[in-house]
């Protein structure tokens, strides 16, 4: 009894040690990439902004604080919009909305994609054929009209529906990739060996396939966040966002439709139009940098380039 328990603890300790070691190794490789670090820094900056939004924002972004179309000044860093709300505060709170939708949609996307990919690659045959043709159809389709339709189908414009609609359209790339790596893992010797000793499908998927595809999935997920944020910006720009949760895209939507172009004595309110787009661009660029670095770590063949 005693010895067994002891063995259990040491095994767990070994596992923890291994994990620590691999994280350390990973960090060491990651640190070598300057662009990866830059991306991480930018992303952390935006994440911190999102987390501490209520402390950072000088005003409430949903209430009127001054006259409309005030140009930037020391009181209102980025001026005010058409109904006198502080744009700087809007941006800070918008970080929250945009990032949350991006990450939430990416998680859904990756889950659907992995599910379809693993099933398709592992089961094969007719199931594979049907799933892959379906994936092709979704991939070819222009996503925005379908996203708009999906959102109309669900009725109310809300945060969650936006996330759902984006993930329903976005899983195809992940599914294809997971499928192809499942196919290659399936053929490996150790899978054959574990089949030979009578392991079931569920065991093989859980113990062999998923752990081997997971690094790949992590890298894709970062790109998926970027993709989801881009889709969100587009949809919100078309006016399909949740008005109670203003994202960066929504700010641009209001700037486009409610007279941001004729604010400043017939001149456009540049302080309303330029900053939200820059925020989107920097966040997505940072995600792409991180994604590239992860890809290089996972697939060392790329590093030699």
């Amino acid at each position: 009894m005693m010895t067994r328990q002891k063995a259990k603890i040491t095994r767990r300790q070994i596992r923890v040690e291994q994990l620590k070691k691999s994280i350390k190794e990973f960090a060491a490789v990651y640190k070598r990439s300057k662009s990866g670090l830059l991306g991480l820094a930018i992303l952390l900056f935006f994440i911190c902004t999102a987390v501490f939004a209520p402390f950072l924002a000088p005003y409430n972004p949903y209430t009127r604080v001054d006259r409309p179309f005030r140009p930037p000044s020391t009181r209102y860093l980025l001026g005010t919009n058409d109904i006198g709300q502080d744009i700087f505060s809007e941006l800070i709170f918008g970080t929250r909305v945009s990032l949350t939708i991006g990450f939430a949609a990416a998680i859904f996307t990756v889950v659907i994609g992995t599910l379809v990919g693993v099933v398709s690659g592992f089961v094969g045959g007719a199931v594979d054929e049907v799933l892959m043709r379906f994936t092709d159809v979704i991939m070819i389709l222009p996503s925005i009209p379908l996203l708009i339709l999906l959102m109309a189908l669900f009725g109310k414009q809300s945060f969650f529906i936006m996330v759902l609609a984006i993930s329903i359209m976005g899983w195809t790339g992940t599914a294809r990739m997971v499928r192809s790596s499942t196919l290659s893992i399936k053929e490996r010797m150790y899978v054959e060996a574990s089949k030979a000793i009578g392991a079931g499908d569920r065991h093989i998927i859980a113990k062999h396939v998923l752990p081997n595809v997971s690094p790949l999935i992590m890298a894709t997920m970062i790109y998926q966040v970027a993709g989801a944020m881009m889709s969100e910006a587009g949809l919100a720009f078309l006016g399909l966002g949740d008005p109670g949760n203003k994202s960066w895209g929504m700010i641009l939507h209001y700037a486009q439709t409610s007279g941001g172009w004729y604010a400043n004595m017939g001149y456009p309110a540049w302080w309303w139009i330029i900053p939200p787009g820059l925020c989107v661009a920097f966040t997505i660029a940072s995600l792409v940098l991180i994604g590239q670095t992860l890809e290089e770590i996972i697939n060392p063949r790329l590093r030699r380039r």
Partner: protein
């Protein structure tokens, strides 16, 4: 031949799936158009609305409506737009040329530019030009392109008031000759085209560069170099030609992406194309128009897809025609 037949067959199936999907989505998403357009008017009796619904076949069960829809579509009959009060076909055809004009020009230019620039960056890989170039294009790719459009408007239509703010041509203007008209259209299209180009070039330059870099590492490149093939020919007929393959495959994926671009860009510049039309049709619950516009756009997209497939087969003899 078998290859073409197989490809065409799978495209037709795809097309049916898409159209059916759209039909059911649209019918379940949109509220009844007569409810929306007429029932708010108290002067119209309910019986009248019922009669109209029967006339348009909206009282039938959904699967019968679907059969009607397929039948009529095959006959080229797309119904009436409820919002514009005109045949759908006419409304779509009026706008399709504008979108096709924008998209085809941007495809041609962006393919040429990304091809040339991508190969150039790959050739200069590891140098400062490559590093800066790829980073700049990566950043362009990360920006929402509709916002780039807004910035272009801001810069070149407001602060430097040179280009027009919206539309595809000067409204109500008569042109003395065809050149005047072309000049006006191109003038209006410059900013939207630039927006679409920035988006596509930003995307494809990096693909082209990476795929060329991959080809440059192949053994046959070393052989060709050793044989003394001159640099220019090495770059274009050996490296670039092979690197183009994944690019052409990408074009197959690219048309859905193009339609998205058209919707957003046309919105920013109030351009009278089909992208904007699809968006408005959804917003107005005009589902006959939506079906028609989407149908015609999908046909265009899938045709383009097929052309890309054939082009691919032509470039890569390993795919048997």
């Amino acid at each position: 031949m078998a290859y073409i037949a197989r490809r065409t067959g799978s495209r037709i199936i795809t097309f049916f799936v898409v159209v059916s999907l759209l039909f059911f989505l649209a019918r379940s998403a949109g509220t009844d158009p007569f409810e929306r357009y007429l029932s708010e008017d108290p002067r119209i009796p309910q019986a009248q609305i019922e009669r109209l619904r029967a006339k348009f076949g909206l009282d039938k069960p959904l699967h019968m409506q679907y059969l009607d829809f397929i039948q009529n579509t095959l006959k080229g009959e797309f119904g009436y737009s409820l919002y514009y009060k005109r045949p759908v076909f006419d409304v779509v055809m009026e706008r399709l040329p504008w979108t096709l004009f924008l998209l085809s020009i941007s495809i041609v230019i962006s393919t040429i530019v990304s091809f040339a620039v991508g190969v150039y960056f790959a050739w200069k890989r590891g140098t400062k030009i490559d590093l800066w170039g790829t980073n700049i294009f990566m950043f362009i790719r990360s920006t929402p392109h509709f916002w780039l459009g807004m910035i272009l408007l801001l810069a070149f239509a407001y602060y430097i008031p040179f280009f027009p703010l919206f539309g595809a041509r000067t409204p109500g203007k008569d042109f003395a000759d065809v050149f005047g008209f072309i000049k006006d259209v191109l003038f209006h299209a410059t900013l939207p085209l630039t927006t679409l180009l920035l988006r596509q070039v930003g995307m494809y330059v990096l693909y082209m560069r990476n795929s060329t870099v991959e080809v440059l590492g192949e053994d046959y490149m070393v052989t060709a170099k050793a044989k003394g093939v001159p640099g220019w020919s090495l770059m274009f007929s050996h490296a670039a030609r092979n690197a183009m393959l994944p690019m052409v495959t990408m074009t197959a994926m690219r048309f859905g992406f193009m339609v998205n671009g058209a919707i957003l860009t046309e919105t920013v510049f109030s351009y009278p194309g089909t992208g904007r039309l699809i968006y408005l049709a959804i917003m107005n619950d005009d589902f006959f128009l939506l079906q028609g516009a989407f149908f015609i756009t999908s046909i265009t997209v899938l045709m383009a897809n097929l052309i890309a497939d054939l082009l691919c087969a032509w470039l890569d003899p390993r795919i048997k025609i």
